[in-house]
Symmetry: C2
Subunit: 338 residues, 2 copies
């Protein structure tokens, strides 16, 4: 990200026909877009692709989700057919949803709306053995990098994170615990509906796995292999791929936040390309965003995932760019200053 474009954007905000600082978070996001694009005003991030990665989790054998694993493939097909929440929101905000099977356990029927890039039919149960081999984790990362590049080559100028995977808040909390160095109880929540007993079990399962594998945050590929998920790895790659092309990424939710921690583990500078779309209910989000030094834009009490919080933040991010490029200045509009 460019310090020169950032300074130019900060200076330009003061010349626009509004009281200094009166657009709050919108000014901050506009300035960040300028830094990312190395241009002031920044280009409008008009063509948005939501990279939605689906995967399953061996740790579901430990009873960490109230939903049966078959829901992952059913929901992947529902999303590919346009019937899920993320589709309704994406249509409203003008974003495309690209669904990728990177690790669904069931055989996914061929579908024009699903990119078939299955690395492995679900992770192993990380309470017993590492979730993935290093090669599998790397392959899933590369699926994400490839998706980012394909989307950008197809014209996308802003990427959003999405995911689907029954049980995937458990590896997300594990990843966040490793990178944030916070206690598992602090970063673990109810996901898509765990009750008190299930939450207690989730915490114990993650705690046991971290004791078993002792993942080292200085080795992010090793962390992914030990306690990650295939969609978490793909999202980390998606973020790394976008940052390498200087394209902003709107993240949301605990899965995306954990993937951002992994991506920042590989390359700290990627955080400059991230915009946190949504606060979310999961406690791990706050821990991860604090570690990444990001402030979420909105908080609508969502706990669905799929990329819903990122998609809802998109118009605000786009408006932030328009503020810098389309507003009149005090001079040009002949408006007196206070």
């Amino acid at each position: 990200a460019s310090a020169e474009a950032l300074a130019a954007a900060e200076a330009r905000q003061l010349r626009l026909t509004k009281p200094a600082g009166s657009l709050g978070r919108l000014e901050e996001i506009g300035n960040r877009l300028a830094a990312i694009a190395d241009a002031c005003p920044p280009p409008l991030p008009a063509r948005a692709v939501i990279g939605l990665f689906a995967g399953d989790h061996g740790v579901c054998a430990q009873g960490v989700s109230p939903w049966p694993q078959e829901v992952t493939v059913q929901m992947a097909l529902n999303i590919a057919s346009g019937g899920a929440a993320i589709n309704a929101i994406a249509r409203q905000v003008g974003a495309e949803v690209w669904v990728t099977d990177v690790g669904v356990a069931a055989e996914v029927p061929e579908h024009p709306g699903i990119r078939a890039r299955n690395v492995r039919r679900g992770t192993r149960d990380f309470t017993v053995e590492p979730a993935l081999t290093r090669d599998e984790a790397r392959a899933a990362l590369e699926v994400g990098i490839e998706a980012a590049n394909e989307a950008i080559d197809a014209g996308a100028d802003v990427l959003l994170t999405g995911e689907m995977g029954i049980g995937n808040t458990t590896p997300a909390s594990a990843l966040i615990a490793v990178f944030s160095r916070l206690h598992v109880t602090t970063v673990t929540g109810r996901g898509a509906g765990a009750d008190d007993d299930m939450l207690t079990r989730k915490v114990r399962v993650i705690d046991d796995a971290l004791t078993l594998h002792r993942p080292d945050p200085a080795d992010p590929l090793g962390v992914l292999a030990a306690v990650g998920g295939l969609e978490h790895a793909a999202l980390a790659g998606f973020i790394l791929g976008a940052a390498a092309r200087r394209i902003p990424v709107i993240i949301d939710g605990v899965i995306a936040a954990s993937a951002a921690c992994v991506a920042a583990g590989f390359d700290e500078s990627v955080t400059g390309y991230l915009i946190a779309g949504h606060a979310g209910v999961e406690p791990g989000i706050k821990a991860a965003l604090t570690w990444l030094d990001l402030q979420p834009l909105v908080d609508l009490d969502l706990r669905l995932g799929e990329g819903t919080g990122a998609a809802l933040a998109l118009p605000t991010v786009q408006a932030a760019a328009r503020i810098l490029s389309e507003m009149a200045t005090f001079d040009s509009a002949g408006v007196a200053e206070g």
Copy 2:
């Protein structure tokens, strides 16, 4: 608002392919839209008009704003020409901005983008005498009702509040103090940049005016006349006009919140047609929304006005409607339930 459609929407949310309650505030807004339209699913509020009313304030003679009064007409022209923040945001979210001169002090040049409905060239200084006569206040209310009806007749199915008027947070805080019965210090803030001295002066000015006029919240027209503003009155009419036609209104900011208090003073049932778009920095907003039993959707630290917070909330409101109308159900998508 319809209790039957509300119950149907609440029941429908539970059949959609998502964990129960996982869309948080979006579900609440969707249900409210169903109640407003008396239909489940509710129609998509696709065509949005921002009713932006401009006016000036005699109380500016008391030094309650750092901005010169001529900025009101300059900014009205800037908005009509598309150069203000609200225009940039409105273009992003696909909303039209209708600017009405209901009470600008300066002569407003004829402009195709400004509806000329000036009731009076600015209010009187309410520290000395009532801001308006009852007839003037009624005429300004009617300007707002007329604008709502014209917008709806032209096809608008959702209205948003906007305003421009140097000094207009001072009458807004006065109105909110009257209706919320809270102390003036609790509901008065810095507006578009008051420093500590100016804030102290604002509080004293409002306090003195309330002591002088003793406005009675049971007589909302009298309150408007005593300490209101022409754009506040027009916005109250705009809200009443929308509610009478069963059209939702997204409000934001302290001016809109004060106008909503006035509208609710005339007819308590209008609150069922309101959606609070943005929390805002002004303390009066929270007081007013609490009194109106509304929860703001987003909080982006805006303190600009113009309707910016309402416009930024529009895509979320529209997405909430799409959730109810476009999402698949567990049965239709063949997705197992948790």
